[in-house]
Symmetry: C2
């Protein structure tokens, strides 16, 4: 699993969901360790990207590498477990926006939310940008379909005439990655908002 990080995603998340159910029956110390690993990994991946070795995560969590790989048989599985929680929150936000706002506004706001999310989370940005991980399939099985929400919001915004009708989902995704690639994205909020405004104004119907 060295070079092609997160390449094959078919059916992975459903397995994860299964693992989540079984987690209830873990021994007390195991449950504690699992939670600690998850927390540390989320923090480390967000701050330093997916390149951080498992050994390092284990070290910072104060456990052995075996403990990590027992709970998460693969580095990929570990990151999926982290993403799952995050995606759940984001899809919920998308649904709230879709229900309560004008379609165009909902789309632009969700877009901005996703950009901010990735800009302050290096691991997520890498996952989204990476030639491996695919937002489009991840989380679908678990019911947290960010890609689907974004597609829906885009279609609604186009229907309402707020977004250029020739824009496609892939365009939006690429632009999202670009915004997240902004240097100092996590620290320079003004720059991030500026680039978002540039892109959104480009997406708007003239």
């Amino acid at each position: 699993m060295n070079v092609p990080l997160f390449q094959d995603y078919s059916g992975r998340l459903s397995r994860l969901a299964m693992e989540e159910c079984v987690a209830r029956e873990l021994r007390a110390d195991a449950r504690r360790n699992r939670a600690r690993v998850l927390a540390v990994a989320a923090e480390v991946f967000a701050a330093e990207g997916l390149g951080v070795p498992i050994h390092e995560i284990a070290r910072r969590a104060g456990v052995g590498t075996g403990t990590v790989s027992r709970h998460f048989p693969t580095k990929e599985a570990l990151y999926e477990a982290i993403l799952l929680e995050r995606m759940e929150r984001l899809t919920a936000e998308a649904d709230a926006m879709a229900a309560s706002e004008e379609p165009g506004e909902a789309f632009f706001r969700f877009f901005a939310t996703l950009v901010h999310e990735g800009a302050t989370n290096r691991g997520l940005a890498e996952a989204l940008a990476g030639a491996g991980y695919d937002l489009d399939t991840a989380g679908v099985e678990a019911g947290h379909d960010i890609s689907g929400r974004l597609r829906t919001l885009l279609a609604m915004a186009q229907q309402a005439g707020s977004v250029r009708s020739d824009v496609e989902y892939a365009d939006v995704k690429a632009l999202m990655v670009g915004c997240q690639a902004h240097p100092g994205g996590g620290t320079d909020k003004a720059a991030l908002d500026r680039i978002i405004s540039i892109v959104c104004s480009g997406l708007r119907t003239p």
Copy 2:
């Protein structure tokens, strides 16, 4: 590291330039091999990205790995040698555009050129995306300062009122990376042009 030949550490590309000068005095077979490696590497990196192992490049070039690492002591050095040629061409194009077109048009055209370049060259796109290589410092010593040309064109376009005055160079670079990240960038030219038009319209003064 091959110490005796590449001792000048004043800058990566000046070291390269030195190597280029010395290349004239190489033995005939060495010169031939060097050229073949360079050509194969350019092709392979463009098609498959920078992740391709040196061994693989040596194999496809029909030489041993030692031959590659003797001519290019580092993988980075190899890719710099490739970039150098490409950057030379791009800066020339930039200068031509700057001289013959209206500032706004020159900027947008050069931007589009860079995006197309990266979209059809996976290695270049990866390099630009910041996976270990920095457009902003690369080539400056050798006189092929793409970053500088882009900055200049941006400033001129803003001066002429064609581009939003609050846009910064970093924004442009990030947007460029995003456009290049478009799936099927190399194959779907229509999609590429569409995303470029979106971004450019966002950059334009309202």
